[in-house]
Symmetry: C2
Subunit: 255 residues, 2 copies
Amino acid sequence: MHSLRFTTETSSAGVVERDFTVGEVPGVLWSPVSGSKNAPLILLGHTGGLDKRTPGILARARRYVTDRGFTVAAIDAPGHGDRPRTAQDERARIAIPQARAAGEPIGPIIAEYNAALAERAVPDWQATLDALQALPEIGAEAPIGYGGTTLGTVIGLSLAAVEPRITAAVFGAPLVYEALTEAARLVTIPILFLLPWDDAEIDRRSGLALFDALASEEKTLHANPGGHHQIPRFEIEHEVGFYARHLGRPATSAA
Amino acid sequence: MHSLRFTTETSSAGVVERDFTVGEVPGVLWSPVSGSKNAPLILLGHTGGLDKRTPGILARARRYVTDRGFTVAAIDAPGHGDRPRTAQDERARIAIPQARAAGEPIGPIIAEYNAALAERAVPDWQATLDALQALPEIGAEAPIGYGGTTLGTVIGLSLAAVEPRITAAVFGAPLVYEALTEAARLVTIPILFLLPWDDAEIDRRSGLALFDALASEEKTLHANPGGHHQIPRFEIEHEVGFYARHLGRPATSAA
């Protein structure tokens, strides 16, 4: 098992932000200045083509920490951010814009690449989780949630299907392929599912079908007008309430 | 114009509850003991077959008043609660259980009756609104929202389509008929739409289509597992947040 190594630390407005590595995997950990022992830990997965410090992740990390005293961790997906690219990554980085420029459907290329990324990312997250739980400030008792849209959902759903430590998750706007629907059928934890109602690249019916496939007894779908990456800011408040409901730590007990 | 006449008043746990009449229409007004001048006013419509004091309305009225200092009003729909029944009401009260017992589809009967009720209820709500706004404790400046599911949505949508004083609404689980979809196309205010995902009586596709028809720039659909009347309790919290976002009055300024 790789242990977690902190590389940098900054702090602002009550939030400590530390870069870390677990083996080859680079990540960021956000936690309250006042400490986080046994606080819920939220793992955030970024969207395709971006990295662990996307604006969406930064905004969520800060809100989750300051509103509820949660701990938040994000890592770079394989072939993304500070990670080396394999031949497969390089091929996808060429094929996707090529297809788009040629007016060809990019869905099948992205779906195939996403499926491969999810396979590579699940062990990364499991190793990161092992290392995070080994930190005395987090420990093995902290309830664990996951959140991420598009590629972050593809990876998170694949993770939640095999990883019982994840006990609540926020997903949204994934490109659906058959193996992902199969993974959804294995997921029984509470889910908040964010669906862009006017996604030009992904038919809303495929999102509704994926939501339907989830085996979870408690699952909520929130649909809002807008395209692929246009999830309204007010959903962050619902995410916080969702995690608090399922992972504990009410607002009043936050630092 | 009929003025509003209070008939009874009780008070408990910070909430004043008063029965009233506006002409022939009986209603209930809930308000904070501490006063409500210019606070948002939420009109609540009950589900079919019930009345202005359904458990769902009582739970919401108390939460809206105590969480945010809103004022809340509910009235009996035509032919419901304390109101006299017309020949049309009597026919529907016989036809619906008869059809159900015979295993015949009740949808068309309910849709036709609901459409008639909406036509009768819109002027009731408008007269009630006139009378409520004439009360010094409410006034003409209070922002106005509407909430109601099933019959409450049929009436509320018909009201919102013609009544500019309603500026935000929560709807859910209506039996959709063509004129209702036409009304939805006229609605441009922010909407929170609650859709039971497993409604045995109403196909989820008709709810999704109605949501799609709303002309509102800001609209959010929340789908949850469960049948026709099974909206999870945690949605009340989302309703409060939704009204607060669009009608003002943040939590901290509540009484």
